[in-house]
Symmetry: C2
Subunit: 387 residues, 2 copies
């Protein structure tokens, strides 16, 4: 099995992109990534794209071929992967396997979602397809409701407070304000969150990631070849994935994601690192409670301590562990299928030392954590700067 490195990254401006479609955003992100990799494009011999619900949102499936077509990559094999909000993560893992296996030598992996052209209730319905449609959405449980169950239970079991959850949003907005690609460019205060309207109690508007349009792309090569063409190849030292029961009610715990724990354990073993070795991590904060659970389940803080750690600023830029320097899903935005790839783009920038105002000092080891639905899929990648 070959070692695999990321040699180029790019992303579109995340936000409500009223003047840009699915195709425009992918071309934007893709051309930046190919240019960043200093490739002409002819080296690319396969393509993956993660996207969740283009059929429901914009009436278009067959996204692999579409993106290959519009990126000028025809006739390379082009495959769409989907695992709800972890679609980007699973696409990255398939691209990793394609290179690791020796089957492909230069693989482009994109993630994209166009969400704002669709009426809000249809978006909520499409996103509900990430959970158990027959047992959750059909009964009225949209995603804010499902994560509200989780938050309420976390509060009961561990004493987590709404103010602690609010601290996650405040920190992620602060990071996003330093990221020109982020959906939100403004800082907020605890008061902003606490005074915002309840979406599904205890989750308020500012506890929820926004509906966002965007695309992100990475270019993969075997590490040995990457070292010849790239100044700072970022090696993927672990690429792991796990599943859990689709419906929240089927799981052993409502306050911990087993898929995250299983994928993280295997990732740490594969990479030969431990949580304290991670300098920068992008976690899946679709809701503030999700970040609190993630930093616990990934082993950065003991179970139940995610809330207090967040409130104490331990996850801020250059604090104990720099969490969601991009702004996360909350601040940078959450174009569903693009999120897992955007996480990788941010970690690459951090490990190269080119993250500007939000640079984590001396970052050597980074991690991405991408979750599908309410936790039925988790994908973890660990990356290192090979220079």
């Amino acid at each position: 099995m070959r070692k695999v490195a990321i040699v180029g990254v790019g992303m579109s401006k995340f936000g409500e992109e009223w003047t840009r479609g699915f195709r425009d955003m992918m071309i934007d992100a893709g051309s930046k990534a190919v240019e960043d990799a200093k490739l002409s494009g002819s080296e690319i011999d396969a393509m993956y794209v993660g996207t969740m619900a283009p059929g429901s949102l914009v009436g278009q499936d067959h996204i692999g071929a579409l993106v290959a077509d519009y990126m000028g990559l025809t006739p390379v094999p082009a495959t769409r992967c989907e695992a709800a909000c972890a679609s980007g993560g699973v696409a990255l893992r398939q691209g990793y396997m394609a290179v690791a296996s020796g089957i492909h030598d230069c693989v482009v992996v994109g993630g994209v979602e166009k969400m704002t052209d669709t009426p809000g209730d249809e978006v909520a319905s499409a996103l509900g397809g990430a959970g158990d449609q027959e047992w959750e959405l059909f009964m009225g449980a949209t995603f804010p409701a499902i994560y509200a169950f989780t938050a309420r239970r976390h509060m009961l079991e561990y004493g987590t407070t709404e103010e602690q959850m609010a601290a996650v949003a405040v920190k992620n907005h602060a990071n996003a304000a330093k990221n020109k690609y982020a959906h939100f460019q403004n800082e907020i205060t605890i008061d902003t969150v606490m005074k915002s309207k309840y979406v599904a109690s205890p989750l308020k508007l500012f506890d929820c990631a926004p509906i966002t349009d965007g695309a992100a792309v990475v270019v993969l090569m075997p590490l040995d070849k990457a070292k010849k063409v790239c100044e700072q190849p970022i090696e993927i030292v672990a690429s792991t994935q796990a599943s859990d029961y689709l419906a929240l009610h089927s799981r052993a715990s409502m306050t911990s994601l087993n898929a995250t724990k299983v994928a993280a354990k295997k990732a740490y073993e594969t990479a030969g690192v431990k949580p304290s070795d991670i300098d920068v991590v992008e976690v899946h904060d679709c809701f503030t409670i999700a970040e609190i659970m993630a930093i616990e389940d990934l082993g950065f803080f003991p179970k139940g301590q995610g809330g207090p750690a967040s409130a104490a600023g331990k996850t801020a830029l250059n604090a104990e562990i720099s969490v969601n320097t991009s702004g996360g899903l909350k601040g940078c935005g959450h174009p569903v299928g693009a999120t897992g790839i955007k996480q990788a783009v941010e970690v690459v920038w951090q490990l190269r030392g080119t993250a500007g105002a939000r640079q984590v000092k001396g970052a050597k080891v980074g991690m991405t954590h991408n979750v599908g639905g309410s936790g039925a899929t988790a994908v973890v990648h660990i990356m290192k700067n090979e220079v």
Copy 2:
């Protein structure tokens, strides 16, 4: 890179399955495949599923986790792949890569589509997402219309006739009548086809594959391990894929699929075989004209000779080349995401010599050919019986 073999196969009865949902059909096919592989299930360490449009058709995405959940495979990595009607084929190729790379040792690959619970116009709309939605479906070009363009052009360029196309449907119904899993169990005549109503001239009702519910599953292992646990492992000796421009109007030819030709060329090279070595092939006959193009583009007959060859019976069971012994998409049915996997199931049965009344005598080398949309994706697999 490790060699990969299929050690177990299973499928649900294809048809209008009014009493069975998405989950039921996958459990049916999956349990048959795992039983066929003589596994307990605990050996399985990853899962792929090909499905095209469950979000649009039944409101459910995140199909990887769903299927893993209902098949009792949680917490294995579970990933959905999509390439329109080639979703099964691309899923099989990802499973192949996962085993070939050494990352996974026992991988289940399924394909499924539940289509008949959805009103016909919504199905047509969802399937239109396999083409270029903005430039084809939006202008009114549904899939029968797109393939009608192709058929009309093939008739103009090569003199192909409606009777020759009808011969494809007659042959595929004859094969389906010998397959207990097939949607249609009845033979038809040229007259049946010729007297059926036009759907999109020159294509009539009996030139079109039906809307079908169904699931199919295969189990993959490294060849060396497969030989220890399996009496007749079927080696996948080539797994290739190519893309083409999404919209028909962008392509160099309307009567030949470049993606098929690129994928087939690479498959023949990889496997070290030529068209005349193939004993049995499942090709993508979503419309009769598609089978005629396929047997030309795959190199079984010269360009333009697919029609006369079909009319002359050269593609019948145990004739020059046995094409679509399962009944193909026309006779066995076309539950979109399941088709690519069903093709593999049929070829495995043929190469094992267990295909009963439709057995191809002495079949040693088989091929599957799965197309997405009007040809923007093609996936080719070549398989051999290793005993």
